[in-house]
């Protein structure tokens, strides 16, 4: 069933639309949820989260826009898996996941937070295509370095180097005034 037809059925409350959506995207949503929850929770727990993602699509059908369904599902899957992890007091272990950067404090208003989100989007989007894909596979979709290497046909050392480039770019963009005094320590391989 084509995407537009799926959305029409979802908005009309027709469960065939939901079934078609699940046919198309269960594998994708499952991959994201399991990447985040594996090691902390069981497959059955992950299945619950995946079903919650499609339930969200059912309940929020009006928010789904043609051409953006996959991205919407991916974002919701990620957020629901993160919440599940937090509720179980577990954490995800990613490669050099911490950046030391300025950021909006607790008193920051919505405008400051929106500005930071915009700059994160710009920083990641400005990466070369391959670098961006590697960066997102690890830090957005929680794939391991090994999995990325296998999926993209790139050796693991190169994956790590590209991840480092992405981290540097993000840090540069989010550090006000451009390069910080620490920038001299970073040299691209």
């Amino acid at each position: 069933m084509k995407e537009l037809r799926i959305l029409q059925k979802l908005r009309a409350g027709d469960s065939l639309g939901l079934e078609a959506l699940m046919d198309a995207y269960t594998s994708y949503v499952s991959a994201i949820v399991w990447n985040i929850l594996r090691g902390a929770l069981s497959p059955e727990d992950a299945e619950e989260v995946v079903s919650d993602v499609f339930l969200a699509a059912w309940n929020q059908a009006a928010d789904l826009k043609p051409g953006h369904v996959k991205g919407w599902l991916g974002a919701v899957a990620r957020n629901k898996a993160k919440r599940k992890l937090r509720d179980c007091q577990s954490a995800l272990s990613l490669e050099d996941d911490i950046l030391d950067i300025p950021g909006p404090d607790s008193a920051a208003d919505e405008a400051e937070r929106m500005d930071e989100r915009r700059r994160v989007q710009e920083a990641v989007d400005s990466l070369p295509e391959r670098d961006r894909e590697i960066f997102l596979r690890h830090y957005y979709y929680a794939q391991t370095v090994r999995e990325i290497s296998a999926a993209m046909g790139v050796n693991e050392a190169t994956v790590k180097t590209r991840l480092r480039r992405g981290r540097l770019k993000l840090k540069e963009t989010l550090t006000k005034g451009g390069f910080s005094h620490e920038a001299e320590d970073f040299r691209l391989a």
Binding site: Y28, A31, G39, D52, N59, A75, Y139
Partner: protein, 348 residues
């Protein structure tokens, strides 16, 4: 300030990569769970915030009331007053094919049931899979009911003193009494577990045991649970509504707010919930105070929270359900008051 890149990307917009699925998840079960949720009898949940919870134990053939295993929840909650006010049902145990599953103890309120479970494999069996051992089958049902509207999860209780053939778990189930035929108090529930497995290095399921156990558990809720119908005005989401019901139990606080003023609230409530949806139920301040003046941290999860009447397209009574759980079990005899968005309600 140290920030996680994983968190910084929360609001990143991606079109979606071509991810090759390697997850050991059951597509059929996902579909079944999803369809069950959308066909739930209750008013549609704003989104699927029902969490998984675990419920009691299994007993197929021989049921023994002489449970010699240490009560797992009693240890977990340090035999606190909140634990003693919540415990329900008797320990049960069953042996099948050399495998013994014991329900050591249960605690419950109107919205939750937790059970301690100990599994002992035949002597010589080593249960030490790197990715843990899990039950494929885990169900909770009310006898005679078509299905159970709720969710459950299981966490392993690690104990280095256990023999290699023994594992311990805490099962938690969360549910809405309005959905499940008017509540759980005084009723018998059936809990079923089976098909213990572990994942190999390629995430393939390897079954350790195909036995299945079913435990009937009769629930008797504590008389210390506080249930009020205050009908108290409160300002929330920028409008005045009414607090119509408050339940405070050892597990936490459950607040019901209703009013026509809440109709179509999605038209003005921002989409600032952590998952990007309307932030209808996340940000109301609920403070539970004890007699000694301290506040109980209600950071143990919001499973069951939801709203109704937010959309013009779905005409229905407008309501907010604000469920806030504590991190541990609260001593009901020590609670003094609760405030909801500044509206104070004495509890004694």
């Amino acid at each position: 300030m140290k920030r996680k890149i994983f968190d910084l990307l929360d609001f990143y917009t991606d079109k979606g990569l071509d991810l090759k699925a390697s997850a050991p998840l059951s597509t059929d079960r996902i579909r079944r769970l999803t369809m069950e949720k959308i066909h739930a009898k209750r008013k549609p949940l704003r989104r699927g915030v029902l969490f998984a919870a675990i419920v009691a134990a299994l007993l197929a053939a021989a049921v023994s009331a002489n449970v010699l295993v240490t009560p797992i929840l009693r240890d977990y909650y340090a035999d606190s007053a909140g634990y003693r006010q919540s415990v329900t049902g008797a320990g049960q145990s069953g042996t099948k094919g050399g495998w013994t599953l014991t329900l050591t103890d249960c605690v419950a309120d109107d919205y939750n049931l937790r059970a301690g479970l100990e599994l002992t494999a035949p002597a010589g069996t080593v249960l030490n899979a790197k990715k843990g051992h899990h039950f494929e089958i885990r169900e909770m049902k009310f006898p005679g009911a078509d299905q159970f509207y709720g969710a459950w999860h299981m966490e392993r209780v690690k104990d280095e003193n256990l023999p290699e053939n023994t594992l311990r778990y805490i099962f938690t189930a969360t549910f809405d009494p309005e959905t499940n035929n008017s509540g759980i108090d005084g009723r018998q529930v059936r809990l079923k577990f089976g098909n213990l497995y572990h994942l190999d290095e390629w995430d393939k399921k390897i079954y350790d045991c195909r036995e299945k156990w079913t435990f009937p558990v009769t629930i008797q809720l504590s008389p210390d649970i506080i249930r009020l119908e205050p009908d108290l005005p409160v300002t929330t989401l920028g409008v005045e509504a009414m607090i119509t019901k408050v339940v405070v139990s050892p597990f936490g606080a459950y607040v019901y707010i209703e009013g026509d003023s809440l109709k179509y609230h999605h038209e003005w409530v921002p989409k600032n919930a952590p998952d990007g949806y309307y932030g209808c139920v996340e940000y109301q301040e609920i403070v539970l105070r004890l007699l000694d003046g301290t506040e109980v941290p209600l950071t143990g999860g919001m499973a069951g929270s939801g709203c109704g009447g937010g959309e013009r397209a779905f005409p229905e009574p407008a309501f907010l359900h604000l469920f806030r759980r504590a991190d541990t079990l609260i001593d009901m005899k020590a609670v003094e008051s609760i405030s909801v968005c500044g509206a104070e309600i004495p509890l004694r």
